[in-house]
């Protein structure tokens, strides 16, 4: 048993027992859907319908339905792609990197955060595929022999690296998530009363019994997967940033991009985790598992990554001036004072200024403030990608080809539609899957929970002695 300092705040409040955890998490899986959930799903399905319609228009009439022009060939599509991939990164950070750092607070949020990763990557993948124009030839991105229609793919291209990075990221994250779900599916299976539920969860749990040998292997597999996912997640956004950085467009051709993109990805991802978790804990009454301590810890990550992003913005600007390259200098002056100044300053306000409010403990621990700031960060990070992509492209080397980009209704529809797709998937997950990792929370319960039987101790993390009394 590990020692936990008594000044640490408890990670599970309300004096829960092991059985309480099972009950609290399985409740919404077993109960009939509540009205709030159904209403939320209805809204998400409207979004999904918008997505289907906009995708149909894009496929049937071609990407001329979007607002792209000869000068701005990448706009909302790639902005949305990078935004969604970035959001996904927080899930892997929580489940893999924090596991390696042995951060116990990850246990109650990792399940939902990993689900978020998977759904976000699904949404992200829609954009490059739709942008291909002829998605039915999407298999041309795979290294297939020339008889399939294309030459061997170009392994020197970051766009191809992206294909490998995103598909590896998606499949490894899915496996990691599923490995963690197996024991919890077994718990639901063993409680299930209906024949359909029992069979469905039996199949999903793959016959898990929880034997000591299986747990030993399960822990090994989780640890190795965490070790693999850690460099993987860093590589994914590095490669995404190289889509830009290896080109020769002023504003894109910078060596700062990989770390800057990774920090931004984690920043936006944590904001989305907070947005989702604040809603989920309220809707499913999980306040004892996702506590203010969790919210505060995530807010600290937001300050750190938000500040890295802020320093990166300033560094970029400084280097543009210091480089002495007039095109580079113009690209940055144009960002801040050109026709897209409002996008640049929205980005600066939302990403650099608002997260600094988290230096105040009261704001860090306020759910309302956290929720609002998390939305600001989501918006700011979308603008960051928009600024990088559109403002660097719209005024290129020939002033005669300068142009502005404005989105069409279909552009907006595809973007709003992926949000609908994301929430549809997330709501289905929240209803039918255990949103909290039961076995990991049970594993930390003894060392990190609040014990009700000791009134003097109640607000502190408890030590071994007080546990011996509560668990005779």
């Amino acid at each position: 048993m590990q020692h936990v300092s008594p000044i640490r705040e408890p990670l599970v409040t309300g004096g829960k027992t092991y059985h309480d955890i099972t009950e609290d998490v399985c409740r919404q899986v077993e109960a009939k859907p509540n009205a709030r959930w159904a209403a939320a799903l209805a809204v998400a399905l409207v979004g999904l319908a918008i997505f289907i319609y906009s995708t149909y228009r894009t496929l049937w009439f071609g990407i001329g339905e979007w607002g792209l022009n000869k000068t701005v060939g990448w706009a909302w599509d790639i902005t949305n792609f990078v935004w969604w991939v970035g959001i996904g990164h927080a899930g892997t950070l929580i489940s893999a990197i924090l596991l390696l750092f042995r951060q116990k607070w990850r246990t109650s949020i990792n399940r939902a955060a990993e689900a978020m990763t998977i759904f976000a990557v699904i949404c992200a993948a829609m954009f490059p595929v739709l942008h291909m124009g002829r998605p039915w030839l999407a298999y041309w991105v795979l290294p297939l022999p020339n008889t399939f229609g294309s030459l061997w793919v170009n392994f020197n291209s970051p766009l191809l690296w992206d294909v490998f990075a995103i598909s590896t990221y998606f499949s490894v994250s899915l496996v990691f998530w599923y490995i963690g779900l197996i024991p919890d599916f077994a718990t639901i299976r063993d409680r299930a009363t209906g024949p359909i539920a029992r069979r469905a969860y039996a199949v999903l749990s793959m016959g898990w019994t929880g034997s000591a040998k299986a747990w030993s292997r399960h822990e090994t597999v989780s640890l190795i997967l965490a070790g693999l996912c850690t460099p993987l997640v860093l590589s994914v956004h590095t490669i995404v940033s190289m889509d830009f950085a290896t080109s020769v467009i002023p504003g894109w051709h910078t060596t700062i991009f990989p770390p800057y993109f990774v920090a931004g990805a984690i920043f936006s991802g944590f904001a989305m985790v907070l947005t989702l978790m604040i809603i989920t804990r309220k809707t499913f009454k999980l306040e004892d598992y996702i506590t203010l301590e969790h919210v505060e810890s995530m807010n600290k990550v937001i300050i750190l990554t938000g500040s890295i992003v802020g320093v990166a913005y300033i560094t970029e600007f400084f280097i543009a001036w210091y480089s002495g390259v007039e095109y580079e200098q113009y690209a940055f002056i144009n960002r801040a004072t050109g026709p897209y100044w409002w996008a640049y300053w929205s980005m600066m306000t939302c990403n650099v200024i608002t997260p600094q409010l988290f230096w105040f403990r009261s704001i860090r621990r306020s759910l309302t403030a956290t929720f609002i700031i998390s939305i600001f960060v989501n918006i700011g990070m979308w603008f960051e990608r928009f600024v990088i992509i559109v403002t660097s492209l719209h005024r290129d080397f020939l002033p005669s080809s300068w142009a502005m980009f404005s989105p069409t209704i279909i552009d907006i529809g595809v973007y709003v539609g992926t949000i609908g797709l994301f929430f549809t998937l997330f709501l289905l997950f929240a209803k039918f899957f255990p949103v909290i990792n039961m076995f990991e929370v049970k594993a930390i319960l003894k060392s990190s929970s609040e014990v009700k039987h000791h009134p003097n101790d109640a607000m502190h993390g408890t030590n071994k002695d007080s546990h011996t009394n509560t668990h005779p």
Partner: protein, 174 residues
């Protein structure tokens, strides 16, 4: 053929760990211990050896790396050489990302598939859980009763004296 098991049910992990040590010290072979979550230190008292899955992961990763390098070098260097941006046909630095991704992919999938096979996890409707509470909040120690033995009171006493809150019998058709 039916096998008979005696199940000791425990409700505290520390009591369980002590019980495992005592039962093993008494010369009784433990068939299996089931718990709702991984218990720290149970591997040592049960004598479970460290899993060799990391070796599988390493070998699969090594295979993935070699395969990725071979694929890129052969395709762009030998099968259909093209001049791309004036770079050499075999531009190794540019091959690093794909090599890395395939290393991770093969390593992860190789290890997880091996894990499913050796742990005998597969999708099936049939479930062989001895006591359903072991996926909720109880720990179950299963001891196989030798053929011909009908009196289990000795086992019962052994388990109860070591803190079992319940002792049950269970027959399993193998």
């Amino acid at each position: 053929m039916t096998k008979k098991f005696v199940l000791g049910i425990y409700d505290d992990e520390d009591v369980l760990l002590q019980a495992i040590e005592n039962v093993r010290a008494a010369g009784t072979k433990i068939y299996e211990v089931f718990s709702p979550y991984p218990i720290h230190g149970i591997d040592d008292v049960l004598g479970i050896k460290r899993s060799r899955l990391p070796i599988v992961a390493f070998l699969c990763g090594l295979f993935g790396m070699c395969f990725a390098l071979w694929m890129q070098i052969w395709m762009l260097g030998f099968d259909w050489p093209m001049i791309i941006g004036g770079k050499p046909h075999i531009a190794l630095p540019a091959f690093i990302p794909v090599t890395f991704e395939l290393t991770v992919l093969c390593s992860a999938f190789g290890m997880v598939i091996t894990f499913f096979i050796v742990t005998k996890l597969k999708p099936s409707i049939k479930v062989n859980v001895f006591d359903k509470r072991s996926t909720d909040d109880k720990y179950v120690m299963a001891i196989e009763v030798k053929e011909g033995v009908t009196d289990i009171s000795a086992l019962n006493n052994l388990l109860r004296s070591n803190g079992a809150i319940e002792v049950n019998e269970k027959e399993v058709i193998k």
